[in-house]
Symmetry: C2
Subunit: 308 residues, 2 copies
């Protein structure tokens, strides 16, 4: 299985358009010891030449252009992108679908509740189904494997499993709609298995329980929620900012943080991803970055790739 | 008035993600004599330090980062972007709104019909109004001037006028909804006046009539629809492609094209913008590019700026 990190930042990217926090200001002036990052986006490939996207970020157009493997062959609609797996309805995770609308035949795998939000509550999404050979919406189960296969025999041999993690739908989903949706389909982590190798993609984890610890312990590569370093990070930049927990993210640092909880697990390669612009571990000259590196973790960068 | 071209291509940009036409393939390999371009986007500034966006392209996050004048001051939500003017509900023209959602106080000027499509038919847009001090939706008249002013005394001294040009709403708008909308609000050109100087922004023009000729004849700068070179351009790349007319764009070339019709007008600076990836005038080594240059026109590039 080939895995490409097309984007590694949390929603808004790094720097974020209207943010002048110390990290964002420094990266704009070139005085930051660390890299700019686009919004979190993964692409994976198994047995076939087709690629499957994990999420569909708002930066997807540029992310595809920056990745030669995802360029189309000569002609029209000869993109190697065959499918997209969605694990939440967050805008940072789904807006990119609307950038894939040039009549491309493509499969979108997502929980039925997420498909309903996108298709029934947003007329924009009709652009994905103007012709019969365009997007196929494929409802996925929770906790049961399905194969990533695109249109026209592009079977990847990759088995994907959605693992429910959060019960809160995005703020844009109305209360009436939310009552019609399954809470366990709101936000998932993703487990991908291919020829005995296992990748975990968990960009939004509110809490780590025993079941999750067990799931993570057998991975070859873990891409884990690195959104915030601590609970109060946003409120230090802005007094009314919400806590990490309120945003649905366990912080990296501190006694209850993911670094402390997960470092002892038997995982071959541990990588933080979905890193918010305010997170001090983006600064490679700082103590937080050193701390995660010494614990055997790394911070994903745009363009990284892995082979399992 | 300062004018910045943040993006100059038609929807999808150049190259386009799933297009392997000769232009797109050549620009990807670096063998094209011409430049890549992001999707059409303009920013203007008048008397104050605030900027107003004409349209909100899907590439807006990167376009803002590429433009130091649009960077925020230290702190949060100190963006100099004070407003957005929308002239259609096309996704290429409105999706960028959803990239401006980090609680920024901002004014969106658009015809009432366009505001209805965005706000009533798309739950995503609720993200623009999570707090009271976020987006202010300002319905604009047709054919009557309104001032571009942002929240908090950021009056620009720029008078804007929406000029109705097309009666067709985007394909994603349902027939039922379209019946409730005013046809003349579907698609407009934009006239901006500041201290006696006049800018025309006309990225989607289906036909040129006498009234439009009269309007254009008094401009200091015209940014005009350069989407297609000829009627059959798309169908040559792909047999079932629609004509330029069907897409709502008058072609540049040919006896009835905009180059022939508009070149004699008394306009100080004539620039084509919103150029589709298939348009041969993108190729600076080709006869079409030479033709428009010899007629006194230019083809807008990302990063260009003008002062009127």
């Amino acid at each position: 299985m080939e895995i490409k990190v097309l984007g590694s930042a949390a929603g808004g990217g790094f720097p974020q358009w209207n943010c002048g926090c110390p990290n964002c200001s420094a990266v704009r002036t070139g005085s930051f010891q660390g890299k700019a990052r686009s919004q979190a986006q993964i692409a994976v490939r198994g047995d076939s030449s087709s690629w499957f996207l994990l999420g569909a970020s708002p930066d997807l157009r540029l992310q595809i252009e920056n990745t030669p493997e995802l360029h189309p062959l000569p002609g029209v609609r000869q993109s190697p992108v065959a499918g997209v797996v969605l694990t939440s309805a967050d805008l940072d995770h789904v807006l990119g679908l609307l950038l894939l609308r040039e009549f491309q035949p493509i499969r979108v795998f997502a929980a039925e509740s997420i498909i309903r939000i996108l298709r029934e509550d947003n007329s924009f999404m009709r652009m994905m189904n103007r012709v019969p050979t365009q997007v196929q919406w494929c409802p996925t189960p929770q906790r049961a494997a399905f194969e990533l296969d695109g249109v026209g025999n592009t079977s990847s041999g990759i088995l994907a499993t959605q693992l429910p993690l959060g019960k809160r739908y995005p703020a844009y989903v109305s209360d009436e709609r939310a009552l019609q949706l399954l809470p366990e389909e709101a936000s998932s982590g993703l487990l991908l298995e291919h020829r005995g190798k296992r990748l975990g993609y968990f960009p939004a984890v509110g809490q780590v329980d025993d079941e999750l610890m067990k799931t993570l312990s057998k991975l070859d590569l873990l891409l884990f929620d690195g959104t915030f370093w601590d609970e109060e990070e946003l409120s230090r930049v802005e007094s009314s900012g919400p806590t990490a927990q309120h945003m649905g993210h366990i912080p990296v640092g501190g006694p209850q943080g993911s670094l402390e909880r997960l470092t002892a697990l038997d995982i071959r390669n541990k990588v933080f991803i979905h890193v918010n612009n305010t997170n001090p571990m983006l600064n490679e000259a700082g103590p937080e970055y050193r701390q995660i590196r010494e614990a055997g973790w790394s911070v994903a960068e745009d363009g990284w790739q892995f082979t399992l």
